[in-house]
């Protein structure tokens, strides 16, 4: 950078981002340098130009429309949350109902009647069969063989 035309310092100078020493240095330089004065003028023009270019005006109804939209969105969200809460409650209630019905059905089911026929049908004697039959009478291997032959 040419020390005589310190454009970086000039950029900070126009923003007021310089030390007192830098400010004095720049002011001395500007008093003598037409090029830097012109540069400074351009930076000011640019600043004014940008501020003028920012001329967008929102409609006067902007704030009221915004508040209405926020309220509307909130009520929609609230409704949706309410519907979701209701749906979850229904799901929960149905689940409880299913558990109760299945549990009741299991408990109220009559104990399976295990008879000698089941044994005669060559069904393997499981623990339940044994539990039911054994108190009644002992089944011998001969009984099982006899049942198989008869079948």
């Amino acid at each position: 950078m040419n020390p005589q035309h310190d454009v970086e310092l000039l950029s900070r100078y126009v923003d007021g981002e310089v030390s007192t020493a830098e400010q004095k240095k720049m002011e001395r330089h500007l008093a003598e340098c037409g090029i830097c004065r012109e540069h400074l003028e351009q930076l000011s023009t640019l600043r004014d130009g940008i501020r003028e270019a920012a001329d967008y005006e929102l409609p006067s109804t902007f704030t009221s429309n915004l508040l209405r939209t926020i309220r509307l969105r909130e009520s929609v969200l609230e409704e949706r949350a309410g519907a979701e809460r209701f749906a979850w409650r229904v799901v929960l209630a149905l689940s409880v109902l299913v558990v109760v019905v299945v549990g009741y059905a299991n408990l109220s089911q009559p104990e399976p009647l295990v008879t000698v026929d089941r044994v005669l049908a060559a069904e393997a004697p499981d623990s339940l069969t044994r539990r039911v039959i054994e108190p009644r009478h002992e089944i011998s291997k001969d009984d099982i063989v006899f049942a198989a032959i008869s079948k």
Partner: protein, 193 residues
């Protein structure tokens, strides 16, 4: 940039259930936000909607605002993120020149129909458009610092905090952005002499 001291009080009032505090915050910053969006996006079409969306997000997040931060910086970041999302979504970069051309042409047509003799006004509008076009030609990071410095009048430290970059980076970006704009606007400066 001059920060009203009672921004934080407004937020406190809002957190305590006073909706009018939010309304006041909107009225305070709506014009600045709209113009930042306008100059960032380069088109008038979506400014109202995007500005509205910024404040909807502000409303939604106010309860999470951290008191150490500057309110405007926080709003600005929301606005910038929204613009970035919007630019990505619409792939605006590809059609930017065409949009500008159409936007500008339609606006001139409207003005010439409404005020056929308002040459001075039209000239003024054209000059503003030249500036807006030049800003659009800057890279997004250079455009950001220029808007925060020249339009929002933020100090280098405030810009650094807002953009979460070093003050040195701010200095450098502002200098480069100005240099780029001076080159882009050579004719503009000649006309304004």
């Amino acid at each position: 940039m001059k920060q009203p001291n009672d921004d934080l009080q407004l937020i406190e009032r809002f957190r305590n259930g006073d909706e009018r505090a939010f309304e006041e915050l909107v009225r305070r910053y709506q014009r600045q936000v709209a113009n930042l969006i306008y100059l960032t996006m380069g088109s008038r079409e979506e400014v109202d909607d995007l500005t509205q969306e910024v404040f909807i997000r502000v409303h939604r997040s106010l309860s999470r605002f951290e008191y150490g931060a500057s309110v405007f910086s926080w709003i600005y970041r929301i606005a910038v993120n929204l613009c970035i999302d919007e630019i990505r979504r619409r792939k605006i970069k590809k059609t930017l020149s065409l949009e500008f051309f159409n936007d500008h042409r339609l606006e001139r047509e409207r003005q010439s129909k409404a005020k056929p003799s308002a040459d001075e006004h039209t000239l003024q509008e054209e000059k503003k458009q030249v500036i807006r076009d030049a800003l659009q030609k800057l890279s997004p990071v250079h455009r950001q610092v220029m808007l925060l410095r020249e339009y929002e009048e933020m100090s280098y430290d405030e810009i650094a905090k807002t953009l979460r970059i070093s003050t040195q980076a701010v200095k450098s970006r502002i200098f480069r952005a100005r240099d780029e704009l001076r080159n882009l606007l050579k004719d503009y400066f000649k006309e304004r002499r």
